[in-house]
Each structure stands twice: as C-alpha cells, then as structure tokens.
Symmetry: C2
Subunit: 204 residues, 2 copies
C-alpha cells in the first residue's frame, strides 16, 4: 500500500551514468525503433551492465519516458527561441515562416532519436502523455500568431488552422531530413510553400 520507495540519493557519478544511458537509448531507439530496442542493447551501447541500467530506471518504458522528458525540455527551449525572435505583427508572411520553420527543422535535424520515439502510431499512452504538453504549447504559440495577425478568426477556426499547420510540419520534416544537400534545401522550400499557400488567405 503506497509503497512510495523514496527516491534514492544520487551521486554525481550516477547522474552522469543516467545521462549516458539516455544518450545511448536515443541512439538505439533511432536505429531500431522502440519495440525492437532491447534494454540489454541500450545497456551495452552505454557501456554498462543490464543490472546497472536497472539501478537507474525501473523499466524500459521509464527510459523512454525520461528520454521524452529530455527531448521535451530541449524542444521547448528551441521553440521558445524560435518564437521569441519574431515580432508577429511587423514581419511579413515569408519572413515569419523563415524565422519559425528554420530553427525547428534544425532541432529535428540535430535530434534524430526524437522521431523514432514520438512518430510511432502505437506509442504507449505514457509517452503520448509526455509529448502532449509540448504539442499543446506549440499549438498555443501558433494560435497566438493568428490571434495577432487574423483576429477575425473564431476560436475554433484558429485552433483548427494551427493544428493543420503543425500536422503539415510534422509530415514534411521527415522529407526534409531524408533529403541531402541541395535536395534538402528544395524540400525545405517546398515545406514553406505549402504553409504559405495555406496561410496566405488567412494572414495576408
């Protein structure tokens, strides 16, 4: 009953190990996907025994959960930077797209494990829950742009439009990442073209 098992006091060494294990997990998840990633493989990739791994994480899902938390934190700052650098009212649509799309694409490019964890259709409920706050925050930010640029939109329209933008983004980022060099620039330009075509009638 309420076997709360007070969290053990970590040493600096332990904190380092946890970070190493998470990095190894990100790499293994990115390479093999969530289901096919074995905890022993993660431990091996981190240069650690299975037993040690389980001193820091109670089970496989907790690893994914902690990794999700780390991604969410990183992504939040990436988003904050992206949205903070823009005066929504002053800049034109093309400028807006450049300032917001580029850094978020860059984040996804730098964190290949991110998609392997969150792009899965049969994601454990807890992982989905971890991803939700970042999704909600992103949605809110996009909505706030529309609020400033297209105040005539109803709340429902605003939310729907923002949701569609994010959806488009998530669909096309893999395309951008998969492309190489000049191809990638073309794909990125195409992503912006789609968003521009969709948004031009809404926020001139």
């Amino acid at each position: 009953m309420a076997d709360q098992a007070r969290p053990r006091r970590r040493q600096a060494r332990g904190e380092r190990r946890m970070a190493e294990i998470l990095s190894a997990a990100a790499e293994v998840f990115a390479r093999t996907g969530y289901e096919n990633a074995t905890t022993n493989a993660i431990a091996a990739a981190a240069g650690v025994s299975p037993g040690s791994l389980y001193q820091f994480f109670p089970n496989k899902e907790a690893i994914a959960q902690a990794l999700a938390d780390r991604f969410v934190a990183d992504m939040r700052t990436a988003h904050q930077e992206a949205f903070a650098s823009v005066d929504f009212a002053a800049v034109d649509l093309d400028g807006l797209l450049d300032r917001i799309v580029d850094p978020i694409v860059a984040f996804n490019l730098a964190n290949p494990g991110f998609k392997a964890l969150f792009a899965r259709p049969d994601m454990p409920a807890e992982l989905a829950a971890a991803a939700r706050p970042i999704q909600a925050a992103l949605l809110g930010r996009v909505e706030s742009i529309f609020e400033a640029r297209a105040p005539e939109l109803s709340a429902a329209e605003r939310e729907r439009t923002a949701g569609v933008c994010i959806r488009i983004f998530q669909a096309m980022v893999p395309m951008v990442i998969a492309a190489e060099g000049g191809e990638r620039d073309a794909a990125l330009a195409e992503l912006k073209k789609v968003l521009r075509g969709y948004l031009a009638p809404v926020i001139g």
Copy 2:
C-alpha cells in the same frame, strides 16, 4: 539447395480460410499494431488454431505481406476509379480536388487496417517493398495531372510537387478519419484548402 517446395494445391475451403485469416489479421493489426499483434491472436480472431494458420502462411510477415497485397489491389482499383472519372484538362482546381480526394479518403475510411500496416516507421523491408508499387503508381497519376495542366514544369519539379501532395494527403487523412461527423467535414475541407493553396500557383 533451391528447396523450392512447390506450392500446395489449395482447396476452395483453404482459399476461404486464407481470406478469413487475412480479415482477422487486418482487424488485429488495426487494433494492436504490427509488433503487438500475436499470431495466436490472429488465429483466434479467425476462429482457427495456430497450427492451421501456419498451413497457409509460413510466418507472421507473410501474413502482413499477403494483407498488403490485398490492400494494394483494393487501393489500386479505388485509385483507378478516382482518376478515371476526371477530365484533367476540363475541370477547375476545386472540382479536381473533389473528384480525387473524396474517393481516396473514403477508401481509407473503409479500410482501417491499412494505416496500421503501412504507417509504421519501422516497417519490415518487404512490407515497404509491397507498398512501393502503389505509391509509385499514385505518384505517376498525380504527375500526369501536372503534365496536362502545367506542362511548363520540369520533370524534377513535377515529381517533387506530386510527392509533396501525397505527403500532405497521408498526413491529413488520419486527422480526417479521427474526426466525427461535422468535424470530419471540416477536416476534409481543410485538407482540400491545403492542397488548393499549394497547387493554385502551379495549376491555376
């Protein structure tokens, strides 16, 4: 070696069983995803013993493969109907979108197992191979529209534009399917809005 194991002669009963097993597999895949679907669960859902299942399919992947083939065949006819009913040169962009988007969305709505098999990021290579022909065919059809309506496009631009359209489609169909009633109509309208905004500059 080349232990070709000539294919056994099926009875009518056997053909029926195979179809039943595939339908059961579609249902189980749709409900639990590919990895979490157990062959015993598929057999049970089909009202068949595990041993019987393995008289028709050598392994789990072969079941998915055969199901993929069935989906591909069904989808091919759905696409054929969708594209055959339109005179690309005569109709305007809105009409074009209505005539093509609606039936393909309807197909996805009627085949919920389809996505569970093909929307997976860590799809076995053989499954991806089974999906490729249908993707290629769809790409070709979309390209042929552009060829008729925007002959000034280079081959590379044409292919890229068609690929983006399909990508957008695949990203937004789940949104349409997840929505209910009026919400669904709104989502469908939004899908067309995205495509229209993207394509209007290309094929007036």
